[in-house]
Amino acid sequence: MTRRRFDWPDLAFGAFLIAVAAGTLVATRGLNGGTAADMGPGYMPRAIALILLAFGLFFAGRGLLRGPVGIEPVQLRPILGVGVAVGVFALLIENAGLALASFAAILIAAAASRESRFFEVIVFGLAVTAGAVLLFIKALALPVSIWPW
């Protein structure tokens, strides 16, 4: 594979740091930097961003020169399953109540694994939802409604 000429982990990490540093410099451009004796709010973020930029350039450069090291292929199923489960929970929790949000999160998260079995997940989901409601609302008094109504 020609793509494997570089040290991809280093290159990707370097690019990530450069992006973060650049983003910080843009986001803090309106802040007053001040002087070393009397630092403004922008001094530290900018100083750290510059250091990160240096790190990023170092890793990216090293990644280009070294190698070949690949990154293990990303499997979509786990990250989508877990990611969507968390997202759905965040959308549901405030309006639909804890019971529905929990049950939905369990079902979707279970889809992240190839080994999950349909009926087992339904039963398990109901049990965990009931447990979560009892533990977090009844015992720990989390101020969330149980049901949407």
């Binding site: 982990p9 973060v20 803090t28 709010p41 973020p45 499997q75 968390v86 965040a90 398990f124 977090f136």
Partner: protein, 499 residues
């Protein structure tokens, strides 16, 4: 006898019924997550943090501390019986512990592991009590200049002694420091990098960050690997070790305790490094090193004592200086701050019941662990029968509810999701996320002290090297960094961490 007064004060706090109760909860949860591979103490502590808000500070810390050292006990059970380390700190216990189990000596192996842990825990409690006073007294003399240098030393040492590439870990520290600057600047009241999101005004909550980076990202990565079938290889009979076993194990236990206590105090120390060192030492000292890896009881006793002692003494920098030695201690700092206590050397004088209560609770906790681990070991083993396909959706759900619960905001859940994606990226490119958490927690203090020091010195950075204590601390940092550049040290470090 100030020491005894303090310990008595601590015991009177730790022995209150409610504190005993929270200690028990902590060590039971700790043992459970220690037994279960795939969930570690960091996400668990992060998960429980929001719910400690309503507790008294001492009860909260006693419970969270119990989770940490309880996990060391549980981790060794899985290591011995299933040959899977429940925690990183019990990797070495697999070597000889599981070998003993295969030879039908699982009972003595478990017993020696528990006894070593208890012994080490007891000694480490005394070590903490003895070392805490002078360290805190020294730290009280610190000004912003020394404190800044101390924080720098803590961060650098944590990076160098921990796993992974030093340069990448350093970059992660700075990334954490950067994230730590998000929010309203305390000095000027100006919002920094909040992107107009009101929820960011108080800065990023570290609980969603920790759960995303450690909890969820780890789950996603676990799911990509093929599932491991776990079989408990042995029926458990006669737990009581023979006199010969005890005689062979005792010196190893002593050495392990010493190594663990010493390494645990260092920044970057904790429970992971000491057992490897202890195992290497036992192997070197043994008359017949070839027995190791084939069920040598010293290979269980030494590392088990070391990881438990290390887990406990890593509280010393936290309790005396307010500096976390590892990511888990960073979460403890978070727990203190949630209680409205600014971590630092003053905590020891201002909140003696808290500090000494936590120290004394480690001893009561260890006693409880000995009792709940040995006779009830069968119960814990049966937990291993819960398949991961059921375990992980429940963990995902608890992470969601826990993050939501910190401030009842869905924003934190989204933040956790973002951190999970970033954490997954870090795992893919082989970067350790722990230094980021240290940077995030220490960032605000570091900036505050840096700014104050620079104000005092009129913007002259030489103040950090002209003051003797500060200069000494920074010199240690410089020596460590230079040493890391030397190939010989690099090689030893690689070997020490890889072994």
């Amino acid at each position: 006898m100030e020491l005894f007064d303090n310990l008595l004060l601590g015991l009177s706090t730790a022995l209150q019924w409610n504190n005993l109760f929270y200690c028990l909860i902590g060590v039971v949860i700790g043992t459970a997550i220690g037994v279960l591979p795939g969930i570690g103490p960091i996400p668990t502590v992060a998960l429980l943090l929001p719910f400690t808000f309503g507790l008294a500070p001492a009860s909260a810390l006693i419970m969270l501390a119990g989770i940490f050292y309880g996990a060391q006990y549980g981790g060794s059970t899985t290591a011995i019986l299933v040959n899977v380390p429940g925690e990183t700190s019990s990797v070495v216990t697999c070597l000889d512990g599981h070998e003993m189990a295969k030879q039908g000596r699982a009972g003595p192996a478990l017993a020696i592991a528990a006894i070593s842990s208890f012994f080490a825990g007891t000694v480490a409690t005394v070590v903490i009590a003895v070392l805490s006073l002078p360290l805190a007294a020294l730290a009280l003399k610190f000004t912003a200049v020394e404190y800044f240098s101390l924080l720098v030393l803590g961060l650098f040492a944590a990076v160098i002694l921990a796993h992974g590439s030093v340069s990448k870990s350093l970059a992660m520290v700075f990334l954490g420091l950067l994230i730590g600057t998000v929010g309203i600047d305390v000095n000027s009241g100006v919002a920094r990098m909040t992107f107009g999101v009101p929820a960011l005004a108080d800065g990023l909550d570290f609980v969603p960050v920790a759960m995303g980076l450690f909890g969820l990202a780890e789950i996603i990565a676990n799911l990509e690997r093929p599932a491991v079938r776990q079989v408990v290889s042995q029926k458990l009979r006669d737990l009581i070790p023979s006199r010969a076993d005890l005689k062979a194990a005792f010196p190893a236990m002593l050495r392990g305790t010493f190594i663990g206590s010493a390494l645990g105090v260092l920044p970057g120390g904790g429970a992971a490094l000491p057992p490897f060192t202890a195992y290497a030492l036992e192997k070197k000292l043994a008359k017949d090193p070839s027995r190791f890896g084939k069920g040598a009881i010293e290979g269980v006793a030494g590392p088990e004592a070391a990881n438990n002692a290390g887990a406990q003494t890593s509280f010393i920098p936290l309790l005396t200086l307010g500096i976390p030695a590892n990511a888990l201690m960073a979460l403890m700092i978070g727990a203190l701050m949630m209680q409205g206590i600014q971590p630092g050397p003053q905590v020891m004088t201002e909140q003696p019941e808290l500090v000494w209560g936590v120290i004394a609770s480690m001893w009561t906790g260890n006693l409880m662990l000995l009792i709940i681990n040995l006779p009830l070991v069968g119960l814990w083993v049966s937990m291993l029968k819960i398949p991961y396909r059921l375990l992980f959706p429940a963990i995902v759900l608890f992470c969601c509810i826990g993050t939501y619960g910190i401030s009842n905001s869905a924003f934190n859940v989204w933040l956790m999701l973002g951190c999970a994606v970033v954490g997954y990226f870090f795992i893919k490119v082989g970067v350790e996320p722990a230094p980021l958490l240290l940077g995030l927690v220490l960032g605000p203090q570091l900036e505050e002290n840096f700014r104050r020091a620079m104000q005092l010195s009129d913007g002259d950075p030489s103040v950090f090297v002209t003051r003797p204590i500060s200069a000494l601390l920074l010199a240690i940092v410089a020596i460590m960094l230079l040493a890391m550049l030397s190939p010989a040290v690099l090689k030893t470090r690689k070997r020490a961490l890889a072994e």
